[in-house]
């Protein structure tokens, strides 16, 4: 068995884990990051990619809001290529509380969030799709952020300084000696090969899986798991983030993201992070709520629904909306620390505090640089710009997102993956209206031609992909998306005759 030694093991490849890896890298601490899936596979990738201005929390949780605006400014500076500086509106519709609006403006001023009141006319100039009955809108510096790219770039810094990043590796056990956690046993997901890594400290940054990991180390973390579901529209209906000017509730945020919009969310307490599904009723709630802010949303094709689990701090209340979005570091006093709570916007701050704790533990004094040093590798991002994608139309594999055969081959060569999801995250393959209905068959054909997959592996991958894809599509199937789905069903079960269950 392969044995590796390092100083710090980070469990979890979400924004927090990747952020800690980068912070450790910039402070010269050897480390390994272990992720059982791809980057951003948990709550990080399943959020709406909103870089909060703090407006959403400013009335009920001004401390969290202050953290948001501060981090918002930092990320716009250090992660330019991951952030689209869209700006955001808080829209007040007839019937929404005027009192809340006044408290919102007052709190923004106290916390230091720039807020500008716009008349309906000016708001409609900015976002013509807004419901014209709106009373007013308040403009704040909300932005759209790409969580996957953010994680990848944090990992780049870590790799550049010799950090080990192991994705598709699952922690199957935590090695203990004299009641102290001294390492992890990990399994490569595709080959099932087992490795051991020893370290001085272990950081549990596994989000919704935090308690499961802590228990492997002989401890626990008190947390509330809150499921939040979102839907993706086929069009970019707004160029600004749109929020409803009212206390946080279901379906009151819509965020532009490249060519589409992400709308959500819901908040439902769950017990198991591995068995969550979007309920069709959640899609209905989101669609009808968002429709009241942007009427066109009601007639726009929804291409998928997805859901993530917020790892919230355990609180007395049953209402998961009322639980603080703040974060906490827990010292289990056994060589393991857990970091939980928080949100994407404050991932860097969380990483900074966590790393400060480790540095102190090691008796060192290096200070954090992540707020000043821009993320490395941003200039290499292929990015979405259509101008780039239109350059080579010869060999398009994914027509929805204009991904070429070259793009696919490059990713396969660079990361040597056997996972179709890895290609999708890095190229946008299969992210369009057909949701990979056509291009997955092609991408797997290319992987086979390149000798990356055996025939039985490619069937397994294809089967798993189609199941996962259907899980996302199923709750939002009506209209044209239902038509498309019947075609995809015909292709795989009719034409290609993949094995059916009775």
């Amino acid at each position: 068995m392969q044995m590796i030694k390092t100083d710090v093991i980070i469990i979890g490849g979400g924004a927090t884990g990747c952020g800690i890896a980068r912070d450790l890298a910039l402070r010269g601490i050897p480390h390994y990051l272990i992720e059982k899936n791809d980057f951003a596979a948990g709550a990080t990738g399943a959020c709406h990619g909103l870089l909060h201005s703090g407006g959403r929390y400013v009335v009920n949780d001004p401390d969290a809001a202050a953290e948001c605006i501060c981090e918002n400014r930092i990320l716009r500076k250090i992660a330019q290529k991951c952030v689209e500086q869209t700006g955001g509106l808080f829209v007040r519709l007839p019937g929404d509380s005027k009192l809340f609006r006044d408290r919102f403006l007052k709190s923004c001023e106290e916390v230091g969030i720039p807020a500008e009141v716009l008349s309906p006319t000016r708001a409609l100039d900015l976002v013509p799709t807004l419901n014209p009955v709106l009373e007013e809108a308040i403009k704040v510096p909300d932005c759209s952020i790409d969580p996957f790219r953010l994680c990848m770039l944090n990992a780049v810094s870590s790799r550049n300084t010799g950090g080990g990043i192991l994705i598709h590796h699952k922690v199957i056990d935590i090695i203990k000696e004299k009641n102290r956690c001294v390492g992890v046993k990990i399994q490569e997901q595709f080959t099932s090969q087992i490795k051991e890594i020893r370290s001085r400290l272990i950081i549990n940054a596994s989000g919704a899986w935090g308690d499961l990991v802590a228990r492997m180390g002989g401890s626990f973390v008190p947390m509330t798991l809150s499921k939040g579901s979102l839907v993706i529209s086929n069009h970019r209906l707004t160029n600004l983030v749109i929020n409803r000017l009212r206390p946080p509730s279901d379906g009151d945020i819509i965020v532009p993201n490249e060519a589409v919009c992400l709308a959500g969310t819901t908040s439902i307490t769950v017990s198991d992070p591995d068995t969550i599904d979007v309920d069709p009723a959640e899609v209905d709630i989101i669609a009808s709520e968002v429709e009241s802010m942007i009427p066109a949303f009601g007639t726009t094709r929804l291409i998928r629904a997805y859901t993530g689990v917020r790892p919230l701090l355990k609180a007395e209340t049953d209402d998961s909306r009322a639980i603080s979005r703040g974060f906490r570091i827990i010292d289990h006093k056994n060589g393991m620390f857990s970091i939980l709570g928080g949100k994407l916007t404050t991932y860097r701050l969380m990483a900074e505090k966590m790393t400060d704790t480790i540095i102190a533990e090691f008796g060192l004094k290096t200070s954090c640089k992540t707020a000043e040093v821009p993320l490395e590798g941003q200039e290499e991002l292929s990015g979405y710009p259509l101008s780039k994608r239109l350059k080579n139309l010869d060999d398009i594999i994914c027509e929805c997102e204009l991904v070429t055969r070259d793009d696919v081959e490059r990713i396969i060569n660079n990361i040597g993956t056997k996972y179709i999801g890895d290609i999708q995250h890095r190229t946008r393959l299969g992210m369009g209206p057909c949701q990979g209905g056509f291009c997955t068959y092609r991408a797997l054909g290319i992987m086979q031609e390149m000798g990356r997959l055996t025939p039985s592996e490619s069937m397994e991958v294809l089967t798993a992909f189609l199941q996962r894809r259907f899980k996302g599509i199923r709750p939002a199937l009506w209209g044209d998306q239902l038509r498309e789905e019947q075609l995809v069903e015909y292709i795989y079960l009719g034409l290609l005759s993949m094995e059916q269950k009775a």
Binding site: D394, T463, R483, L487, G494, L496, A502
Partner: protein
């Protein structure tokens, strides 16, 4: 406004509409066929699945639930309908082969076996149950066909890649219509020194005369050759559709292509006419009887709205629904037959919609309630059988 009158107006240009219109023409009726565009048929493999879940399709049909529309057609008429289809296709120069009592398994681009009943001439030798060597030929850059899917799953196979200069199925099929291109291709095949056995080619061997192309390849190479259906757009589907459309026109049927129906005129219990949306003046098409053959969701005959509602898109007929939206789909992609497949128009014994109070409207094809074409693998088969039956009902209705 231009006005044209017909005995029967068929709405929908897919398999069921075409077969109904052709049968009516054969019965001596003056027919109009209206279609909003190329049908879903053009996306199909071109194979006729009659009932794919048993070895003998007729046995399977007998065991279908009572509500299935095949039972409205009856065995004798089902057989007659397929005999008629085979005769028609033979005359078009695109003959079909098969036996209503015995399914066959043909090779798919995934290397798996698809169960079907009637196949076009180019797939005559595509049966998977043979032991000899098979050589797969692919084309440079053709993104919908990867021979490794087949050669890595099946023993005793090999493949070669030909550069056709174009990467799409339609592009390559068009080039095969050029004699010099075909001769080049055959000359290249000869240089390969392929072991004895069969030659398998993705379905791109010409659009109009695949039969003569495949025969030439077979005689020059002295071995059997066949086509493998490809992902949509599919050439065998396109050929089938074009051939049937040609038959209808040759028999005197009028075809209104690329036209959507803007309005419907109804008087008492009769549909009198439909008006077509055209870019110029509106055009009114009158009929003594009407046939609705607009297909299910995929073809646009049915349209689902967000709130548990499904609309029939031409006449706004009452639609049978299996339940609210959260019951429409299984959680599993691979479990055959989502409940929503049962949605459609319920008809009486003469294929007239129930609870609609219209005497001269008949319904055929996959828009019929309980047809469940994916679950039973019976899409084109049900279209042919119900198209034929509805045409006869209609003929009796307007003596």
């Amino acid at each position: 406004m231009s006005i044209r009158s017909y005995d029967v107006v068929v709405i929908g240009g897919g398999m069921s509409g075409l077969m109904a219109a052709i049968r009516l023409s054969q019965n001596g009726k003056h027919v109009a066929l209206i279609s909003k565009g190329d049908p879903v048929c053009c996306l199909s493999t071109g194979c006729i699945d009659v009932y794919a879940r048993s070895d003998n399709p007729m046995d399977g049909i007998r065991k279908l639930p009572e509500s299935h529309p095949y039972h409205l057609v009856g065995e004798a008429q089902i057989q007659k309908a397929f005999e008629n289809f085979i005769d028609i296709m033979f005359e078009t120069g695109l003959p079909y082969f098969g036996d209503i009592r015995s399914n066959r398994k043909i090779l798919t681009p995934l290397g798996s076996a698809k169960t079907t009943c009637f196949v076009p001439c180019t797939m005559l030798h595509a049966q998977t149950q043979s032991n000899g060597y098979m050589h797969v030929v692919s084309f440079q850059g053709l993104k919908d066909f990867y021979p490794s899917y087949i050669t890595s799953r099946l023993k005793n196979t090999g493949f070669s890649v030909f550069d056709a200069g174009v990467p799409t199925t339609i592009g390559i099929a068009t080039r095969f219509e050029d004699r010099p291109f075909l001769q080049n291709f055959i000359a290249w095949l000869k240089t390969l020194e392929i072991p004895d056995g069969k030659i398998a080619v993705p379905a791109v061997l010409g659009i109009d005369n695949p039969m003569s192309i495949i025969e030439e390849i077979e005689s020059e190479l002295d071995r059997k050759a066949f086509e493998i259906p490809t992902l949509p757009p599919s050439i065998p589907g396109l050929r089938l559709f074009r051939a049937l459309k040609g038959v209808l026109q040759a028999k005197g049927g009028d075809v209104y292509w690329g036209k959507e129906i803007a309005s419907v005129e109804k008087l008492d219990h009769q549909i009198e006419a439909v008006t077509l949306a055209t870019s110029g003046r509106p055009s009114r098409v009158e009929g003594r009887a009407f046939i609705l053959a607009t297909g299910s969701f995929i073809s646009g005959g049915l349209f689902a709205l967000r709130g548990n509602t499904v609309r029939e898109t031409v006449f706004d007929l009452p639609v049978y629904l299996p339940g609210p939206r959260d019951t429409w789909f299984h959680e599993d992609f691979f479990t055959a037959g989502h409940a929503i497949e049962q949605a459609g128009i319920q008809v009486d014994a003469s294929f007239r919609p129930r609870q609609a109070d219209i005497e001269n409207l008949f319904v055929c094809g996959s828009i019929l309630a309980f047809s469940e074409v994916m679950k039973y693998g019976c899409g084109h088969g049900l279209a042919i059988a119900t198209g034929d039956a509805v045409a006869d009902m209609c003929t009796r209705h307007i003596p």
